[in-house]
């Protein structure tokens, strides 16, 4: 039999920290700060609407781009939250999670050989989706001195005649970094000068702890060259419902709808009905969860400072990204030893790109009690490492 697999899929590297993930699964009693999804269950009123939709027999496909009712609510929501204006029936598409929107957007925008600029550390799917779309990922290593924000100079430095797409993902997984309005404004001249299109993954927008999230699409001139991706997973604690959306100019969204139609048909109907309720009536729930995350964020930050772990103050998502460079071992080695010694799992920073080397991604999507237990273990480990190093030659 011949080898049936495509060259592109073969060229994709499996995650470099597979080994570490396997080690965690072999230790069932280890506790973890490695989870990238909310610890809250979906608010009951949203779940109720899902159940009710089943009772009413809403078990059929919806239109390809999603329930018109939901798209209207998304349009209203984008407007009241981020000052964005999208025509609900032409400029909004409901997808299977933000993940599908990322994949579909890239496949609709990339020609063979086009370069897709991806600042890292960042979520793991942008690079592989770019490759499968026929593009070439070009990575920018974000720097801790800039609190992992992207600067205009860094962007300018990687531009070539083949540059086509810029992927922005702020608030950021894994660093917790945000881009404030002034940071985004600084990028606009570079984006316009080189005629780039932006895919802005704003899935963590509601988890911004210093003022209001600003979408790059709301800046003058940017709306028609930006696809905004958002979803229900993080803000509404709805990861398992698999529901996201993309908003953008009609010429892009209509093409995305075509691809989405062939690949997916439509997002789950049940989830779409629940999502309508999420957008209409769950502001208070979202606020409560955000406040809980914020307390945990501050608590962890103060504990990390106290135990001498360096980190900048992350203002978004639910991650803290402390540096472990002073211990003189790699992120993976640190994580492996921490797991073996204290049965505590955290994700090595290099899982999110080379520039994450020397850092750990610590998730605070855990109850305060769970965090306290984990912090105790981390503290013991850090003390051990420090003592060991002070006596070593």
């Amino acid at each position: 039999m011949k080898d049936f697999l495509s060259d592109k899929i073969r060229s994709l590297q499996p995650s470099g920290i597979r080994k570490f993930f396997d080690a965690v699964s072999e230790m069932p009693d280890a506790i973890s700060l490695g989870v990238g999804e909310p610890d809250f269950e979906t608010p009951w009123k949203i779940r109720e609407e899902g159940i009710y939709s089943l009772e009413k027999g809403k078990t059929f496909y919806t239109s390809n781009s999603g329930l018109p009712e939901l798209r209207r609510e998304i349009s209203v929501y984008m407007n009241r939250k981020y000052d964005l204006d999208y025509e609900p029936l032409k400029e909004v598409i409901v997808t299977v999670g933000g993940s599908e929107a990322i994949d579909v957007a890239l496949r609709c925008l990339v020609n063979p050989g086009d370069e897709v600029i991806i600042p890292q550390p960042s979520f793991v799917s942008y690079g592989p989706c770019t490759v499968m779309a026929g593009g070439e990922p070009v990575y920018i290593d974000l720097r801790s001195e800039n609190e992992f924000r992207l600067t205009a100079e860094e962007l300018e430095a990687v531009i070539t005649p083949r540059s086509k797409v810029l992927v922005l993902s702020f608030p950021n997984n894994p660093t917790g970094a945000i881009m404030e309005k002034k940071d985004l404004e600084a990028l606009v001249p570079v984006i316009e000068k080189h005629d780039l299109v932006v895919i802005s993954d704003e899935i963590y927008a509601e988890l911004t702890y210093s003022g209001k999230h600003v979408s790059i699409a709301s800046l003058p001139g940017m709306r028609d060259r930006t696809v905004v991706i958002n979803g229900f997973s993080k803000a509404f604690a709805m990861t398992g419902w698999r529901l996201g959306y993309a908003c953008g100019p009609e010429n892009i969204i209509s093409q995305m709808t075509k691809l989405h139609q062939y690949a997916i048909m439509c997002a789950p109907t049940l989830s779409q009905y629940a999502a309508v309720e999420a957008l209409r009536g769950a502001d208070a729930d979202v606020e409560k969860m955000a406040e809980a995350y914020n307390q945990r964020r501050r608590y962890l930050l103060s504990e990390f400072h106290d135990m001498g772990l360096e980190c900048f103050e992350p203002m978004g998502a639910f991650y803290i990204f402390p540096s472990i460079k002073k211990f003189g071992i790699s992120s993976e080695e640190f994580a492996e030893k921490l797991l073996a010694d204290q049965k505590l799992a955290v994700v090595p920073g290099n899982a999110f790109g080379d520039s994450g080397e020397g850092y750990l991604r610590i998730s605070y999507a855990y109850s305060i009690d769970a965090l306290k237990e984990a912090v105790g273990r981390l503290r013991k480990f850090v003390e051990k490492l420090s003592n060991h190093r002070s006596i070593a030659p």
Binding site: F21, V24, S25, Q295, R298, Y299, E303, A345
Partner: protein
């Protein structure tokens, strides 16, 4: 939200948090927290620090009765003096003035149903101002003070998710 409300909202869920931890979680100074909590206590806004117990899981027998009480309000004193005569009893856990079909909800705890019922018939019904009572016994508590009883929380998530 201002610091006061943040303190109240946080302590309402867990009153054991130390001032140092509260300061860290709210991003405030520890001394400021201590001062604020103490003035909240003095002003009678924080009225106590209790423990929520599911007595059903202990060997202790305890019944809770919810009593609807209709009264004749007294000239000059309205309902307050009647409420006071009711809440002075140690058996009474709570008294609320109600809108609607009756005047007070009185929550009474006793060791047995008989004990609680006797309190109603001997103490409550015999008050001059009380016109009528209707006693309902609590059979099972599912949720109290925002906490679901007997719910075991298990983390269903995968332990590593990018």
């Amino acid at each position: 939200m201002d610091l006061r409300n943040e303190i109240l909202n946080t302590l309402e869920k867990d009153s054991r948090i130390s001032p140092a931890e509260l300061a860290a979680r709210l991003g405030a100074d520890e001394t400021a927290i201590v001062n604020e909590v103490s003035s909240l206590e003095k002003e009678g806004i924080i009225c106590g620090y209790l423990t929520l117990i599911n007595w059903e899981k202990t060997s202790e027998e305890l019944v809770t009765a919810l009593i609807e009480v209709k009264v004749t309000p007294q000239r000059g004193n309205g309902f307050d003096s009647i409420a006071q005569r009711i809440y002075k009893y140690d058996e009474v856990r709570a008294v609320y003035l109600m809108s609607g079909g009756f005047d007070f909800t009185v929550i009474v705890e006793g060791k047995t149903m008989r004990e609680a019922a006797l309190f109603v018939s001997e103490k409550l019904s015999t008050m001059e101002t009380v016109l009528s009572t209707a006693t309902h016994f609590v059979l099972k508590k599912y949720k109290d003070h925002g906490i679901v009883f007997g719910e075991e929380k298990k983390d269903e998530r995968m332990r590593i998710i990018p």
